[in-house]
Amino acid sequence: MTKSLSQNNSKVILELKNITKKYTTGTNQFAALDNVNLKIYEGEFVSITGPSGSGKSTLMHIIGLLDNPTSGEVLLNGRDISKLKEHQLAQIRNVTLGFVFQQFNLLAKTSSLENVLLPLLYSDVPKRDRPKMGMDLLTKVGLQNKVNNTPAQLSGGQQQRVAIARALVNNPKIILADEPTGNLDSKSGEEVMKFFHQLNEEEGRTIVFVTHDMDLAKQADRTIIIKDGKISEAKHA
């Protein structure tokens, strides 16, 4: 990778301390995450990979504040957020995190612009400022001509770009992407990855993405490999 990033000089934006997540199925209990410690630094481009069932989705959900750990602490900018109430977590997700999903998760029969503006419904951004923010982002992802199109009228790559614009609308510090290229052809997938690099290098956003594809994972500054609920390897690219 062209970019070198010194972990020692950079600020830790997100830290997991002794995170354990246990699931109970019937009488069996198993740990999807087993005492995981992890630091993510501001401006880092991190990939999480591992075989299916390894716990990478669970890790992603905990990083994304979508799920509470059974034990351990989640520190966001040094603040422990693992004990916060659901509505407080929702607000943090709204302004600090941007989500990109494998399935895009755009609202059907709803225009690109309105899909992009969706997170703003739950924010304090004044209504009159919203449309311009959406238009700017759609222009940024190259969809200025598809503002009024609904997801059904867009290709997979275009839909994922609308989803990226949506993830950016609240200007979040961290972008979390769960298999963002998993439903795309290789060309669209490359475009999406290029876009993530751009967001990381030009805007300094922290990018964390989950993939099962080792080649894709290698594009990151650092790859976290997870296996059986434990981080087995954390290496620099």
Partner: protein, 407 residues
């Protein structure tokens, strides 16, 4: 501050409702039927009340009635035993003379009646009620023919047993379809009577005999036709409204000299009106209550479809939560959708109820009141809230991870 703003919530709720137009209509149908029937039934009840009130006003103000038997019970309702006693008892000429003598400031009118076939040279009407009274009855009951339609009979004719009758508008038309009845002869029980007047058309009547179907004759003539001098009822015209109560007391005092207190009733039209209106109210409330059950059924329909909608939109709910929707925002969104569904039903129901009332108005007294509209609409919105809570709570409690994973 509410996030999203109320207008944003309304907008997105309307959008998702309009995505499924036919489903929206079918879902609202229960509420539509409920509200329509509530409005129709209350309209009919109110119309009936107004009709009865108007009829009593037409009977003339300041009128007091004396009837045989106990008509009212102690609570102001109709007495159970009234019919039996009313059939068997009647008043006499002596009572009439006594009342006339004692009530110097009021006009006392005896009323009797008999049933007989009425024939003209062109037609016959069977089993018609023939009411007998005095000259004063015409003005007191607002049945004096207007100019050009003849006249009411006089007390002189009553005293001399002159065979004259006054006909109701409809019966006059039936008996003499081709020309005016005034001056013609009719035959009752073999007796020839001269028609001296035709009462102006009074309009439709509910059930019982109307003025339009009535035949009026002097008291002495009806007594002859009936073969007895009995008096069915006295109508006493008090000098003014304020003296109704004192006159009633006076009458009661006079009547008690001769009769047991349960053998007669003294009442004025407002008393009778109140009793009838309370019966109509009870009927209206009862029927409306039955109609309101369909509102509950409609509410269950809304709950059902909202639960389906929550399941269908599990991914959407998960996404909204992931990008920052707090549970209450989701709750309010789904609640608003349920309320909009029921309000659409309520508004359509109000409209249909109003149109229905207009339609039946031509042959039945009916009247839409603002209070029934507000009540029906309010109840249907309330139904939306009550039955919307369960699905909305379900939506707000969905875990974002589970919801996003949902296929």
């Amino acid at each position: 501050m509410l996030k999203p703003s109320f207008s944003d919530l309304l907008k997105s709720s309307f959008r998702s409702i309009l995505k499924n137009k036919s489903r929206t209509i079918l879902t609202s149908l229960g509420i539509i039927i409920g509200v329509t029937s509530v409005i129709l039934l209350t309209s009919i009840g109110n119309g009936l009340k107004k009709y009865v009130t108007d009829q009593f006003d037409a009977l003339g103000a300041n009128s007091i009635f004396i009837s045989p038997g106990k008509i009212f019970n102690d609570n102001g309702g109709f007495s159970q035993s009234s019919m039996a006693t009313a059939m068997t008892t009647s008043f006499t000429q002596k009572d009439y003379n006594l009342l006339k003598r004692k009530l110097k400031n009021s006009v006392v009118m005896p009323v009797n009646a008999t049933y007989a076939d009425v024939k003209s040279n062109q037609a016959i009407k069977k089993a018609i009620e023939i009411d007998g009274s005095t000259e004063e009855y015409g003005a007191s009951n607002n049945v004096v023919p207007s100019e050009g339609n003849g006249r009411w009979f006089t007390n002189e004719e009553n005293d001399k047993k002159t065979p004259v009758v006054v006909l109701g508008n409809k019966i006059a038309d039936t008996l003499f379809p081709k020309s005016s009845a005034v001056g013609k002869k009719i035959i009752i029980k073999g007796k020839s009577l001269k028609v001296v007047g035709v009462v102006d058309k009074k309009g439709a009547s509910m059930g019982g005999p109307s003025v339009d179907d009535a035949v009026y004759a002097p008291f002495s003539i009806v007594a002859d036709l009936a073969g007895k001098e009995d008096i069915n009822t006295f109508v006493v015209k008090a000098p003014n409204k304020d003296s109704i109560e004192s006159t009633k007391k006076e009458i009661t005092k006079v009547m008690l000299e001769k009769y047991d207190k349960d053998a007669f009733s003294v009442f004025d039209s407002s008393q009778l009106l109140n009793s009838i209106n309370s019966i109509i109210s009870v009927l209206t409330i009862g029927l409306t209550g039955i109609a309101a059950i369909s509102l509950v059924v409609g509410g269950i329909g809304i709950m059902n479809i909202m639960l389906v909608s929550v399941t269908e939109r599990t991914r959407e709910i998960g996404l909204r939560k992931a990008i920052g929707a707090y549970p209450r925002a989701i709750l309010i969104q789904f609640l608003i959708e349920a309320v909009i569904l029921s309000c659409i039903g309520g508004a359509t129901g109000v409209l249909l109820g109003y149109l229905g009332t207009l339609a039946i108005k031509s042959f039945f007294p009916a009247q839409v009141t603002l209070s029934s509209v507000i009540l029906a609409f309010g109840v249907s919105s309330l139904v939306g809230i009550i039955f919307g809570v369960a699905p909305a709570r379900k939506a707000s409690k969905l875990s974002p991870i589970e919801a996003l994973r949902y296929e």
